[in-house]
Amino acid sequence: MIKLDKLTKAFETPAGTVIAADSINMDVGDGEICVLLGPSGCGKTTTLKMINRLVEPTSGKIYLNGKDTDRYDPVELRRTIGYVIQQIGLFPNMTVEENVCVVPKLLGWDPGKARARASELLATINLDPAIFLKRYPKELSGGQQQRVGVARALAADPPVLLMDEPFGAIDPINREVIQDEFLKMHRRLRKTVMFVSHDIDEAVKMADKIAIFRAGKLEQFDSPDNILAHPASRFIAEFVGTDRTLKRLRLVKVGAAMLANAPRIGLGEPVAQALAMMDDHGQEFMVIVDAAGRPHGYVDADTVRDRSGPVGEHGLPLPATVRVEEDLRAAVSTMFMHDVRWLACVDRDGAFAGFVTQRGITRLLGETYRGPTPRPAE
């Protein structure tokens, strides 16, 4: 969808020529979120702004959907690309509705259609149109303003969205919320997004692909997991942090690390059967489920070895469970909190789905280091 071909920008300054972007090659697929990451002055914002030609490239080409952007008038081009900036830049003299309708109006939409679109978008970003359409930007909180900023960028339904540190000025709590909302919306709309950030955690959370820049050069362009597991250089390893393997916990869902088809036993079954099943599976413990399949507790092989009767009477309570759609970071955090080595997992309906163990998680994360690596880290 977005293809950058040897894209280069050189600025002439009194101190000499500065190469802000040096022969950048990138290819971002349809519906992907690509995060441009790096320290300030690394060229990520310059690269982003060349895509909608707020910055004219010195050389190189940009293709959107296979079409060379040089063939378009820059003003016309920008109307087909959504643009969100950190300072939000809502026009204070316009209502929320007028702000959202800016691009449709520039494109000459019928005013009724533009208004309907504004209403629809406001509902999408969880702001009640009846309340917010006629408000002015100064009457909104920072988080609400940035939501409107995103709605405004989406107004004319552009296939490509450029976002320049869009959530950088929002407090950490709201930032998480608005990131989640954005991801949810993205799953539905499947826009191709270029997203500038300097925050590795944000990048890992949002990105399908991460492009790491340093001094105008694209250092590594890969999936978040590969960047964290196999940083291409010492610089990247330092930039993503010494806890980079922990960050990978965020990328894996509990479901992927979970031992499914784990043995389970009903409340009323005899202890002897539980012991037999545990021996069969080589397990030290087993989850007891109720009639609805929900985890009720667990039995420990050693403590029930010489007991009898239904397992329900000998069960121990589960300190916590984790949902399969949560990420491993949540699972590990719960394990640490309760000082346990394994956790029972539940599906959306609360039914027992399997369990994750600390060993299982470390093995899963370690796999990529044991196999043949595409690029060895320095």
Binding site: R78, R79, G89, F91, P92, N93, M94, T95, V102, Y136
Partner: protein, 237 residues
């Protein structure tokens, strides 16, 4: 020259000459009103144009400031030989031209400052969304510049209500007629009447223009103050 008891005589003079005072006020307002309106039509576009070029801006603002330093009586004098060429050496036209020239600095400077000071983030957002330079000016920069431009217009009007009082010496009429006659006839009643009327006119004009400034300011950037009356539907308690 001014003696106790004059105030009563002045009051009597004012009451006896209300129609003449009204007539002079109209002349005064006509000179300032026409000249400042023309000044808005020239000064605002000039102020916008010079935001594109720092050097041009420096030169234009310097010239406008120089004009401001010419004493009004001298400017009227200078215009007599020039405008005599078209038979308008004295009277209404030179008065209007003088006021027009004196209005340029506050109007150009305020327009220039207001447009230059529009938040760069707004300009970037506007550019990034595909607004042309004209779109940006019309939809963003000018609406946001309104309060500051209007403040310049108010300054121009108040200054020139004072300057127009001198225009009576070139036969342009206005409230200055009472003052000049009061001086030449050593008649404090006329002198005080003229001075009072000019001051009052300046205060009233400033207040009206402040109200106009408030009305012209886009709702989204209006200060909460100055709510003369509640606008829009009341929120149910």
């Amino acid at each position: 020259m001014i003696r106790p008891g004059d105030s009563m005589e002045t009051l009597a003079f004012i009451l006896h000459n209300l129609p003449a005072i009204g007539q002079r006020t109209l002349e005064h307002v006509s000179i300032v009103g026409v000249a400042v309106s023309l000044a808005v039509l020239t000064g605002v576009p000039i102020g916008i144009a010079i935001t594109q070029n720092k050097r041009a801006a420096d030169i234009v603002l310097y010239v406008a400031a120089m004009i401001m330093t010419i004493p009004s009586i001298a400017l009227f004098g200078l215009m007599i030989p020039v405008l005599s060429l078209i038979g308008q050496g004295i009277g209404y036209l030179p008065a209007v031209i003088a006021v027009l020239l004196y209005s340029q600095l506050p109007i150009i400077r305020n327009t220039y400052t207001a447009i230059s000071n529009v938040d760069p983030a707004l300009r970037e957002a506007a550019r990034g969304m595909g607004m042309s330079a004209i779109d940006r000016l019309r939809q963003v920069e000018l609406p946001l510049a309104v309060p500051v431009i209007m403040a310049g217009v108010r300054i121009a009007v108040v200054i020139n209500i004072g300057i127009t009082a001198i225009a009576t010496y070139i036969g342009a009429g206005g409230l200055g007629a009472f003052i000049s006659r009061g001086i030449s006839q050593t008649d404090s009643r006329q002198l005080v009447t003229g001075a009072l009327a000019v001051s009052l006119l300046a205060i009233v004009a400033d207040y009206l223009l402040l109200w106009l400034q408030y009305r012209l300011t886009p709702v989204g950037i209006r200060p909460a103050r100055w709510h003369l009356r509640r606008v829009g539907p009341k929120v149910a308690a």
